[in-house]
């Protein structure tokens, strides 16, 4: 099931900073796309002296057509969008609340959301939720962090040396298309049931998107930029440091963001197989012991956690890729 997410960013279309659908506001990206299409007339400022003397006033106008409707209009549009999104979520919650009460679904298996919320609150107050959350986060972040440390340098190396990339290509392709979850039993066999196996498992799953994106980021640097840098007499080290690496950063970050989603996704599987703490354990354990409310509380926690983590990474990614709009 993790496979749907496995597709690495295709840097062939650098116009879209985020490859997969991101829950973060499309308002911002739409606005930046609009302002990026600077009108060609900006270059028409008269040659010679008047051009030099002219303040960038004229261009400021043309290069930011996104703000043209005025502040009020934008705010209104944004408010409408927020309302739209909140409405959908509220609707879902309303259905969740009403359906069990109306007897449309079995109340025992799908309790109303208000009861789940109460159970969540109890879990949180009792400290159990915090413990599980902490255990999960520790594993996720360790695996994710290690994956970044391992995969980025490795990817840079593979991407930079074309023969290596060509040699390893088929193997990488094979692993990429093998769901990490399918290999979970192998990890349990080798590393046992303790923390090592879980962290290694997350590390493994997170490595692929980062590695593959880093490789393609390095390989797909605009050849003209390299040519231009070479014409300036830049050596291989300076070329890599000043051109290849910065050019690859946005693509690498797309991989990091995908890996962030994996870190939480695959951990759940690991925690369901053999653990004494963690959200995956909580969900599984609650289900087995017929604490259905707690099970839903765990599920809600995990989805909100995933959402927040992705939001954080999208924000960071955007900071690193502001220039990638053309």
């Amino acid at each position: 099931m993790a496979d749907t997410l496995t597709t690495p960013a295709t840097p062939a279309t650098p116009a879209t900073p985020a490859t997969s659908a991101t829950p973060a506001g499309p308002t911002a990206s739409a606005a930046s796309a609009a302002s990026a299409s600077s009108s060609p007339s900006a270059g028409l400022t008269a040659p010679g002296a008047p051009d030099r003397a002219a303040p960038p006033y004229g261009v400021r106008e043309t290069s930011a057509p996104g703000r043209a409707p005025g502040r009020g209009g934008v705010l209104l549009a944004r408010a409408r969008l927020v309302a739209q999104r909140v409405t959908a979520v509220l609707l879902l919650l309303a259905v969740w609340e009403a359906a069990p009460r109306a007897g449309l679904v079995d109340r025992v298996f799908v309790p109303p959301v208000s009861e789940v919320a109460a159970a969540w609150w109890d879990l949180a107050l009792g400290g159990a939720l915090g413990e599980h959350l902490a255990a999960s986060l520790a594993r996720s972040l360790s695996g994710f962090g290690l994956a970044i440390v391992v995969a980025i340098p490795l990817g840079l190396l593979i991407g930079w040396y074309k023969p290596v990339a060509d040699f390893l290509g088929p193997v990488l392709e094979l692993f990429r298309n093998t769901s990490a979850v399918a290999l979970l039993p192998v990890f349990v066999l080798i590393f046992g049931l303790d923390e090592t196996s879980k962290i290694t498992f997350v590390l493994y799953a997170c490595t692929w998107p980062i590695l593959l994106n880093t490789i393609s980021g390095v390989k797909t640097v605009e050849p003209l930029l390299i040519k231009s840098a070479r014409s300036l007499g830049l050596g291989p080290v300076a070329l890599f440091q000043k051109v290849v690496l910065p050019a690859a950063v946005p693509t690498i970050f797309t991989g990091v963001r995908l890996a962030g989603a994996y870190a939480i996704l695959v951990l759940l599987f690991a925690e369901m197989v053999g653990a004494k703490a963690g959200l995956g354990f909580l969900i599984n354990d609650a289900q087995a012991n017929f604490r259905i409310h707690d099970m839903y509380a765990g599920i809600i926690t995990i989805s909100v956690l995933g959402l927040l983590f992705n939001l954080l990474l999208v924000t960071v990614e955007r900071r690193f890729s502001t220039w990638r709009t053309t």
Binding site: S38, L44, G48, L224, S231, L232, W323, T325
Partner: protein, 267 residues
């Protein structure tokens, strides 16, 4: 007469083509001298090997035969004595206009403090004062090309190699940039080799126009362009029309021959 700056001696370039039996001859017997401080334009149909020749002079590739001398010395690879301006600007998108101009200065090893100052000066020279902090995607095509020109001027090369730098721009922007380029050339005294497929552009800018034919790329004629006066609308000058027509006829004849050869099955 000024001394020879760039000497191209019987240069040929052959590419091996994958899947083809015979190698592809891009350039053959190119002989050309460019004098110091001269503005030379190189005009020819697309695919005639103009850019290949420029890459050779830039030192990005090596000739298969012959040699290229700069100031009497054979070139060995790229160097900061030559600056290239590409058609697609080749600006680093993650750097501001200022940062892009500084890029060449970093390559040259200019101290950090001096870099910003010099970059500012050259951005001013191309008319971009006030745009230092803009990123390339925030600039129009014409402005981006100005940044690229500033970048090439900033590290102070003797020779400016320009590969169809204005081809991607709209007509009005192109004309204004042509004018400015001449102004900058007059001010800096650089040797300029300017590649174009536009006959008007070649005649308007060049002191001499080298006409190239294709398959294999050869220089068929070098025309001295001289006007009594460059005041007013030069393009309306009858002499301009004559130069233009002369080159046009030559290129058309070449095209007709090339087309004929293309139609005849080879091998």
């Amino acid at each position: 007469m000024s001394p020879v700056k760039i000497a191209i001696r019987d240069v040929g370039k052959v590419f091996r083509v994958r899947g083809a039996d015979r190698p592809f001859t891009a350039l053959e017997h190119i002989d050309l001298d460019v004098r110091e401080g001269e503005f030379l334009t190189l005009v020819g149909p697309s695919g005639c090997g103009k850019s290949t020749l420029l890459d050779l002079v830039a030192g990005l590739t090596e000739p298969s035969t012959g040699e290229i001398l700069i100031d009497g010395r054979a070139i060995s690879g790229p160097g900061l004595d030559r600056g290239i301006v590409f058609q697609q600007y080749a600006l680093l998108p993650w750097r501001t206009a200022l940062g892009n101009v500084e890029f060449g200065l970093e390559a040259k090893g200019v101290p950090r403090r001096e870099r910003a100052e010099r970059a500012r000066h050259f951005l001013g020279l191309v008319g971009l004062t006030g745009f230092e902090r803009r990123y390339p995607h925030e600039l129009s095509g014409g402005m981006r090309q100005r940044v690229a020109i500033a970048r090439s001027l900033a590290f102070d090369p003797d020779v400016l190699l320009m590969d169809e730098p204005f081809a991607a721009l709209d007509a009005q922007t192109r004309e204004s940039l042509q004018e400015e380029l001449l102004r900058i050339w007059g001010k800096t005294g650089k040797t300029v080799v300017f590649i174009t497929h536009g006959i008007d552009e070649a005649v308007y800018l060049g002191q001499r126009v080298a006409v190239m034919s294709s398959r294999p790329g050869r220089i068929t004629e070098v025309i001295e362009v001289a006007f009594d006066s460059r005041e007013g609308d030069l393009r309306a000058d009858p002499a301009f029309g004559e130069y233009r027509h002369h080159i046009w006829t030559r290129l058309r004849d070449e095209a007709a021959t090339a087309h004929h050869e293309e139609a005849t099955p080879v091998g």
